[in-house]
Symmetry: C2
Subunit: 794 residues, 2 copies
């Protein structure tokens, strides 16, 4: 029912009802669209803030994307109604809104396109969606195939939701000259000061047809009639009424009448998107449908190709072949794509949260390190000279700190050495450390070394008398906003993360000849770890923090939120936990947080407000930060497990982050394994019915950490100053695996095998045993054959 | 197909499809609900700002009510699904969402309840909605009647939309103890500073059943299934699944199984609304269903009675009997109700716009003058000592100026003498003028006289070198926000309105022994009128204003917005227009602004932004202030026509403000004549297809002016200092009319007749000719018989 195509370019689903919320997503430089298997879509474009051109049927709130996006019958969608002109029978592709079960159905999520094939009786509708690289538009192909042995008279009605555009002004009409339906609106506002912004908006939505339609309808109400969206009255008429919309909710529907011979196929192409004015639509029409290159290819085809090339640039640095084909498919085909999306678009915001921006660019280090490098320097240029990093990095001259970036968080500095460290490991480019960068509040430039020193010292200074880091209105956990809002509360996790950051930075400093500084931070790490053990060890695991009122939380005597995952994993990373604590932690996590869908962020999920912890406790139990399998946190934990050699534990959890492989699991998650969502529903022990469900949100800091778990952990192919360190951490039940590792311009073809008689891992490069498992002096454009022999485990 | 019931208590519609957007509305002290004939509802309650307990299926924007409310299949509604357990047939009452055409249908809009009767085959469903007076809850009765001669096995499923409550937290479950479905949520927020407010919200929505349900469903998705809302899968099952909702969109659906004998009836009662917690629901259950008074009546029945009494208090001061029965019905039964709604609720805002607050209370002068009196004093206590009135009157200690009240307008002072003048005419209570009231910025109290003097002087001071009033970011016309935002633009209308206010105030001062002040303002009125004629007369009508860049607009050389209604009517009120100008004005208005649905606010409607006029030009042509038949402005004009004796013109336009009487007109307006909407679609000459459509918004300043057109104009029964002045201005085709006029505690039974031989109106009070048509010394609790003889007109 689901599976990858043979060429691995698509993931397919053959039922519109078994995973009704299964989606794929496409993006380009200015927009994003997530479509589900049944035809619903959520799309946004940047002007420069996120905006919509296909709306719900009411006045929607402007907000970030919602987890577990609720669909409803009038949800924005892209459908094709199909009517047999003889029998009057109607169905719609892909499935909504008529919901007639097709005889055959296929939803194919690709990397640069998303396709459907729907057969009802002898008629097949194929739909495909792609995007241009830089323009904001959906590129649609709709093909009709007559599989029968008779002539067929058919009408098709491509339907594109426009919805409630604006209470101030909304209208639409067919524009003969543009061969388009053009819907117009004015973004609602009340203050004249906003007019300067509003007037530049692309407040029109158009549907542009390559082929002249037989007729059309632009009024949603007139189209639906008493039949409603599930069986629109207008479809039952001979001809659409060629109506317009005058302060009525617009829609874009065309009708094409086809008289098809047996076996005949007929394809239509459309563009759907926002525009500022008719002139822009006219130029789009020229570019995509009228203009041709010397080979006779029109802009539409060229744009499809250009987009495929753009997406193809998002390649990772490993190609794997393991005993787990589903893992291979995901890691080779989908994971780098999702990581590239984060790195190249910054989640289509103009003010990404600082920690997201840094971590997303940590991932970009494996794909396009030059972009990551520039991003790190850009972020540092917004640091204050006292070392503090801002809440949010502004990417656009008109960008403003919005939503969560107006709430002060204390963790942003921590990510600098961690993320830049990954960049250094992957590229060996230590020149970045001596780049000169100014501060937000001081134009004088200092080196990146100095910037990060200051960030580390800011972390040291932003501590209470005990030496624990203040949390203010949140750390990594945004909604943990009331632990320290009075100025006293501290974060146990952040103290650990600081210690880990000190260690990473000390290592980097040492490798780059700054041994004094290195010692300073090593000492700070040690100090921090002592403090952590003094105040936060609860007997079987670490607590999460201490509130303004000096109450330790995330501990055994709490009824809810007893245990949090982050302090457990990070205490391993920062080495606060000794061996005996480690064992207790592993046991506690397995018992209290692990579920069939991964480890939960905390447990038990809070079921009511805890006023000294904050908003996280008000989220629905088992969702997001309140005890979901929050994959970002789970990935930290897995990474930590690899650092302490817990290879089997790590692999088990790594694998649980992907839907499948069995059908039951996939159905429960409700998502195709083409991306990792930000969470799966948790609160497994409290609300088992809903546990495991995907949030379907593909924006998540998880991805780059998942990738590091693979490169540094599972396959142990980690960059060091001098080369590539090879030390695979395969799960004990794997006997072999192979990896092609692209590293600093070279290609390493690596075979990993367990061999009896081997006591400790041995690495052979081009036949020679490599000392310490390190491939030194890796040369650009060279190919290396690497054989790794590992011990057989019981 | 539509008509009033014999007792005039209901207005009925007998088709769910001919006027699909026909609505009725109910309100109480804390909430409002507008329901349409097909079962959709828009409801709000105050906590203290407007909030919802029944939401759309997506994250809705928080906003004011929208004109021409768009409905869609999942729009919040209240339905009863009905399934024949033997045949499996399903229909829904009142009509949505199954949309099976009933055999008989009746939608009855009452004053204190709204009812439906829907017959499908032999089964009748009766639904009725009422409200308590003070609690926030919908009180529903659902009756099932088996009209057939057989036993019938039936399931009914009362369905109440809960919708997308919150992305932070939403859930729901059946609570056995409360016999309720209780849905819980947390209002979304991000800043801890908002928590203090949020935590007091009534974030739960409940459906409370008097009778224990057979089963229930709380998950919208589970209820709908693949059948969708139009034929929910769960209804086709034997029994609802007793499901809950865990971060899933909740719904409240009960199932009752009935085994009905021939002719049997069975009634169910429900309460639906918001609550803070389960304890509150428990106390509501006790109060409405469990507790009984000494006569055995439960709280539900008592609340229905109390609510009917509350609404009945909203009586006007005239009862009319004219040749136009539809007018009689509206004026006697619906108009005072709508006026009362405005006066008693202040449109359910905590910061009504100052002009609305004053005009709504002008209307309240005819119903509960003590409330109007207190409101005027309250408004004056928020005046600044320089005389300026604020944008919005704060009614609640936590209230803030929101939306449009953050934009500075310059007309608020104008309404003081006009509205208080109407209060004085109706009550004769000149003591209000000597009440001592402080200022917002000065606690020292001065008399109302002094307050209004200052307001008038502020208007005099807020003028440019020519003597024209600045418009800043708007006058009465809110979105005319860019005429004067640079500080130079002026409003022609506001200069007229000021002159009119000066005259009114001069009259009041004179009558109250302040002749010096009176002369001062009379002089100012004369001066203003000269200036108006100098700068704004365009040859055939008056212009609307002069922009920041010194461009007169609303004149013949404009392509759009050539002529505005307000300067025409108000030039008559302020007496700027002489007889010859008056004739030109009347002709121009009739030719360019009058339509079958009333006079438009401006014409032609703007079709694109005019940057020196502003946002009004961006609204859709023919909607709201951009050239709709904006009834508030139309009412001003009609009032002006009566003041200059244009009785036939006035009556024709007065009548056009009501839907009907013919069916074609009612269908085009799409609204029952139970309220006057804020607009009917205009741009009649530009977009004839949509002209005449009702906005369906019942918040409008129109109402009190419409009432004054009746009392002061049509029936000429206007209070003066010494008594009641009687001078009817019947249209020439009316031969007679009678009115019962309640006035200062007395009742005047007035017969008006045209009689041949009469040259000028003669008024007989209890048989005696009244000098000047004035009934002097009207005594409380007395009944007067008045005969008015009028000339016969050709």
């Amino acid at each position: 029912m689901i599976g990858a195509t043979e060429d691995n370019n698509y993931y397919e689903l053959t039922s519109p009802t078994s995973l009704p919320k299964a989606t794929g997503f496409l993006w380009n430089e200015k927009m994003m669209i997530q479509v589900n298997c049944r035809g619903y879509a959520v799309a946004q474009f940047m002007q420069p803030e996120p905006a919509k051109y296909s709306h719900g049927p009411n006045m929607e709130a402007k907000s970030f994307m919602q987890p577990e996006q609720p669909y409803y019958i009038n949800h924005p969608g892209r459908f094709v109604f199909v009517k047999d002109e003889v029998s009057g029978e109607v169905f719609s592709a892909p499935y909504e809104p008529v919901r007639k079960l097709p005889d055959q159905y296929k939803f194919s999520v690709g990397k640069h396109d998303i396709k459907w094939r729907v057969q009802s009786g002898d008629i097949v509708i194929e739909m495909s969606l792609s995007l241009p690289k830089a323009d904001v538009a959906e590129m649609w192909r709709v093909k009709v195939i007559n599989l029968s042995k008779q002539n067929r008279k058919i009408s098709i009605y491509p339907y594109f939701t426009v919805g409630y555009m604006s209470w101030m002004n909304q209208s639409g009409e067919y524009n003969e000259e543009l061969q388009s339906i053009v819907c117009s609106s004015v973004s609602p506002y009340q203050k004249y000061q906003d007019y300067a912004t509003i007037k530049n908006f692309s407040d029109k939505t158009y549907l542009l047809a390559e082929e002249k339609p037989y007729s059309w309808e632009v009024s949603e109400e007139a189209f639906e009639g008493e039949g409603g969206i599930t069986m629109p009255s207008a479809v039952l008429e001979e001809e659409l009424a060629k109506g317009d919309s005058r302060y009525e909710m617009p829609v874009c529907v065309f009708q094409y009448k086809l008289d098809m011979k047996p076996g005949e196929e007929k394809e239509y192409r459309f563009l759907f998107g926002p525009a500022k004015d008719e002139k822009e639509i006219d130029s789009i029409r020229f570019k995509y449908f009228l203009d041709k290159d010397q080979n006779g290819k029109d802009g539409f085809r060229l744009a499809e190709k250009e987009y495929a090339d753009y997406i193809a640039e998002g390649k990772g640095c490993i190609q794997i072949n393991t005993p787990d084909q589903d893992l291979d498919n995901f890691v080779n085909h989908w994971l780098p794509r999702q990581m590239y999306y984060h790195g190249i678009t910054n989640r289509l915001t103009t003010d990404p949260q600082t920690r997201n921006y840094l971590q997303d660019n940590m991932g970009m280090s494996y794909i396009k390190p030059q972009i990551a490098r520039a991003a790190f320097l850009h972020a540092l240029s917004q640091q204050n000279e006292n070392g503090a990093m801002p809440d949010g990095i502004l990417l656009h001259k008109d960008a403003e700190l919005k939503y969560i970036n107006q709430v002060p968080h204390t963790d942003h500095c921590v990510w600098l050495p961690i993320c830049i460290g990954a960049y250094l490991e992957e590229t060996g480019d230590s020149t970045i450390l001596n780049e000169l960068v100014p501060f937000a509040d001081n134009k004088e430039k200092v080196t990146v070394n100095e910037h990060i020193d200051r960030a580390m010292r800011w972390l040291i200074s932003d501590r209470d008398g005990r030496g624990l880091n203040y949390i203010k209105q949140g750390d990594w956990c945004d909604p943990m906003n009331m632990v320290g809002y009075k100025g006293k509360g501290v974060s146990g996790w952040l103290t650990m993360a600081s210690a880990y950051a000190f260690i990473i930075w000390a290592d980097i400093c040492e490798q780059n000849g700054r041994s004094l500084v290195s010692s300073e931070f090593r000492l700070e790490a040690d100090k921090s770890n002592k403090i952590i053990n003094k105040y936060l060890w609860d007997g079987e695991w670490y607590g999460r923090g201490i509130t303004d009122d000096n109450v330790v939380f995330g501990i055994s005597k709490d009824k809810e939120g007893k245990i949090f995952i982050n302090p457990q994993g990070w205490s391993l990373l920062c080495k606060a936990a000794d061996e005996s604590k480690k064992e207790k932690i592993l046991k506690s996590v397995a018992e209290q947080l692990e579920t069939p869908y991964g480890v939960e962020k905390l447990a038990p999920s809070y079921t009511s407000m805890r006023e000294d912890v904050g908003r996280v406790t008000q989220k629905h139990p088992g969702t997001a930060e309140n005890g979901a399998v929050y994959n970002h946190a789970a990935a930290f934990y897995i990474y930590a497990l690899y650092t302490v050699g817990e290879n089997d534990n790590a692999y088990r959890l790594l694998r649980k982050m992907l839907p499948g492989p069995d059908m039951e699991d996939i159905i429960r998650r409700g998502q195709l394994p083409v991306f990792i969502p930000n969470y799966y529903r948790g609160a497994y022990r409290q609300f088992p019915r809903t546990a495991g469900r995907s949030s379907h949100l593909f924006n998540t800091g998880t991805i780059s950490w998942y990738y590091r778990c693979l490169t540094d952990g599972l396959f142990g192919l980690k960059g060091i100053k001098d080369g590539l360190s090879i030390n695979p951490k395969l799960p004990s039940h794997w006997q072999e695996a192979s990896v092609i590792r692209n590293f600093r311009g070279a290609e390493l073809q690596i075979e990993i095998k367990r061999e009896s008689g081997i006591e400790a891992t041995e690495v052979y490069v081009d036949g020679k045993l490599a000392d310490g498992g390190i491939v030194k002096d890796v040369k650009k454009d060279m190919v290396y054959k690497v054989l790794v022999k590992m011990p057989v485990l019981e």
